[in-house]
């Protein structure tokens, strides 16, 4: 989802940094999040996702920059004076209160009378499918239910922005997938802006309108799932989201919007050029394993303009049911190229290529991505 042209962003980060001593946990983050967007922060552990989220919530004070929520600069406002609520990674369900009291916790502070509070609590319980469990103690419910309580407790406060720090991290796989769907439905029906922290790329890709990929405190790319997967802007993003093969070399020529990269002596691959591509530049061609086709014999005819062809040596193949994964070495000393073939035909990919046998790898020019670093 792209931001509507003339609407004010719900969150606006302006050069937000957080330093612990000399170490920058978040380095000058600048981006906007639109109202109603499901926005994810994705990156490996320790890249600064939690720190960034906690700064938005007011739990951590930024070293530099400012955060605007719905147009208002937050400065150093404490969490209780921000229009945000947080679902903590540990859930932080108060152990001395029962489920209903936990959910009512924030409502008490907003000055509702008792009847309104119990009505809202009952609604919230229904919404997260915990109806009738209001009187349970917190140690009498399962992990998935605790997660729902934490969610209900936050959304019942009707925040403008809901912050979620790896909320599904503690759940088992099946429950996690169920909760992902519920979370997404909940967000759609409430229309609240969600900022969702995760290190699980599949989770981020399937849930989010947009994703910010982070590494070492920096935001590398912010885009939709499709754009991140199809058009990563750097090698790190390309490698972090899914699998990617890289061919390194120098641009030898640029013609008709297509750059030829010399990846070995006399060996060229072609890829759509970017505006700044020029002969002599160091360049990387990135290509997804499933976009490569493999053949045991030299392909006829179309090896000319529209496709790249590389001769390689099959190293190993593994049969994965719906597809086969083949590793091939096109030049000694380089990382093997991985190729993913759908097992559609009678002949199965993994069985077609004997180890050490020659294998021809082909892919259309437009399937690759040109990267600079």
């Amino acid at each position: 989802m792209t931001q509507p042209a003339n609407s004010r962003p719900m969150i606006s980060l302006q050069s937000v940094s957080k330093r612990f001593g000399n170490f920058a946990a978040v380095d000058s983050a600048t981006f906007d999040i639109a109202p109603g967007e499901f926005f994810s922060l994705l990156g490996p552990s320790g890249c600064g996702k939690t720190t960034l989220l906690r700064m938005i919530g007011g739990f951590e004070r930024q070293s530099e920059g400012d955060i605007l929520i719905d147009g208002e600069p937050m400065g150093i406002r404490p969490p209780n004076q921000r229009p945000t609520n947080m679902v903590f990674q540990s859930y932080a369900i108060f152990p001395h209160l029962d489920i209903a009291e936990n959910i009512a916790y924030g409502l008490v502070n907003r000055g509702f009378d008792k009847a309104t509070i119990s009505k809202k609590v009952a609604q919230a319980l229904e919404m997260v499918r915990l109806g009738g469990l209001g009187n349970r103690r917190t140690n009498q419910i399962s992990g998935g239910q605790r997660q729902r309580v934490a969610l209900a407790r936050a959304i019942v406060c009707e925040p403008k922005v809901l912050l979620l720090d790896e909320p599904l991290g503690a759940l088992d796989k099946k429950l996690r997938e169920e909760m992902q769907i519920e979370l997404r439905q909940l967000q759609k029906s409430l229309g609240i802006t969600f900022i969702f922290v995760t290190h699980d790329q599949e989770e981020a890709l399937s849930l989010s309108d947009r994703i910010a990929v982070m590494a070492r405190g920096q935001v590398l790319q912010i885009d939709t799932a499709t754009a991140l997967y199809e058009r990563p802007n750097c090698r790190e993003v390309a490698g972090f989201i899914g699998n990617m093969n890289f061919f390194e070399g120098r641009i030898s020529s640029v013609a008709n919007g297509v750059a030829a990269i010399e990846i070995g002596p006399g060996q060229h691959v072609r890829v759509a050029a970017s505006g700044s591509s020029a002969p002599g530049q160091v360049a990387i061609l990135a290509i997804r394993p499933e976009k490569i086709d493999a053949a045991a014999t030299m392909p006829q005819g179309n090896g000319s303009i529209s496709a790249n062809v590389i001769k390689a040596r099959a190293l190993a193949g593994s049969y994965l049911g719906d597809r086969s994964l083949i590793l091939a070495e096109w030049r000694e000393g380089t990382a093997p190229v991985s190729v993913s073939l759908q097992n559609r035909k009678a002949q199965i990919g993994a069985e077609t290529f004997a180890a050490e046998a020659p294998i021809w790898l082909t892919w259309p020019v437009e399937a690759g991505v040109l990267l600079n670093n």
Binding site: G57, F59, P78, P79, N80, T84, N85, M86, F88, S90, A92, F94, P95, H96, L97, Y105, G106, N109, R110, R137, T138, N139, R153, A154, C157
Partner: protein
């Protein structure tokens, strides 16, 4: 076939196994022996003696309720007043102790980030001198020519020593409060330290100010330690007799002094034993009342 056999063997081995509650019981055996030998037996002795009577230098093993009759009729009014007074003085001291200890424990749990152990060790420093010496120290501080009086005299605030400082219930309460403060800090500290910091963040996130958060989260969750501290100070101080002896004067005596007198100078061990029993009963009732006030729900919630 094999699959069906498996549960049968499990069931059989379960039947021959020792009951689970016996596991680890040997761990408490030494303590149990000491408790039975050093506490239960003497206590039973005291209860027995309280039903006997004293004639001259001899104890008559004639089972009777005379001692209790004395304590619960007009004859024993003084004892009953003394018990109530002791409960009251201990209660005041206990409240003072908890009020002093709580901020200290809070500071240690939430504000000290490094070298917590050093603070805990510092807390035990007063214990490096004997209890007796610490009480004597208060005598020196509060006394007629003590630190406070001579200090005030020196700077010219008073020209005659203040006599109300020492030898009254207040001086006993002050001394008890000081002597027991360290005992209260530790249990409160432990229960504060145990509080997950994310609870506090969640409370703030849900709109609590710091003050509100304290009363809604921190305090309820520290109740187990605070209750423990309260009982830990209240119960032993009711029967204390050293402190009132040293700093209490005639108006500051407590029930402990009276029991000592019965066993000693008055040479009436059975009455002393009965007095002890009544005192224990009074403490038990006081503690039960205290716990009832806190409420069962609160207690149940607190022991998570």
């Amino acid at each position: 076939m094999t699959l069906q056999a498996a549960p049968t063997t499990t069931a059989a081995s379960l039947q021959t196994a020792r009951p689970e509650w016996l596991d680890g019981l040997w761990l408490i055996v030494p303590t149990l022996l000491i408790v039975v030998g050093m506490m239960v037996a003497p206590l039973a002795g005291i209860v027995l003696v309280s039903f006997w009577s004293q004639t001259g230098f001899d104890i008559q093993r004639d089972w009777n309720l005379d001692n209790y009759r004395i304590l619960f009729t007009a004859e024993g009014a003084l004892y009953r007043i003394l018990i109530l007074k002791s409960l009251w003085m201990s209660l005041t001291a206990t409240i003072a102790v908890v009020l002093l200890a709580y901020p200290m424990a809070y500071f240690m749990a939430f504000r000290i980030e490094r070298a917590k152990l050093i603070w805990i060790i510092l807390l035990t420093v007063p214990f490096w001198t004997s209890y007796l010496l610490r009480i004597f120290a208060w005598k020196v501080i509060l006394g007629f020519n003590g630190v406070i009086n001579s200090g005030l005299k020196f700077i010219g605030v008073i020209d005659k020593p203040l006599e109300f400082l020492l030898y009254n219930p207040a001086s006993v309460t002050i001394t008890l409060a000081h002597a027991w403060a360290a005992y209260a800090v530790l249990p409160i500290y432990v229960s504060l330290e145990k509080i997950d910091r994310s609870y506090l963040e969640a409370a703030t996130d849900l709109g609590d100010s710091k003050w509100k958060r304290f009363w809604r989260i921190t305090f309820p969750l520290s109740l187990p330690g605070t209750i423990a501290a309260t009982l830990l100070v209240f119960i032993p101080t009711v029967g204390d007799y050293i402190t009132p002896t040293l700093v209490g004067g005639t108006s500051g005596i407590m029930i402990g002094n009276s029991i000592v007198t019965q066993f000693g100078k008055a040479n009436n061990a059975p009455l002393g034993a009965a007095l002890s029993c009544v005192m224990m009963l009074a403490i038990t009732l006081a503690v039960c009342a205290f716990l009832a006030v806190i409420g069962r729900k609160r207690l149940k919630a607190a022991d998570i």
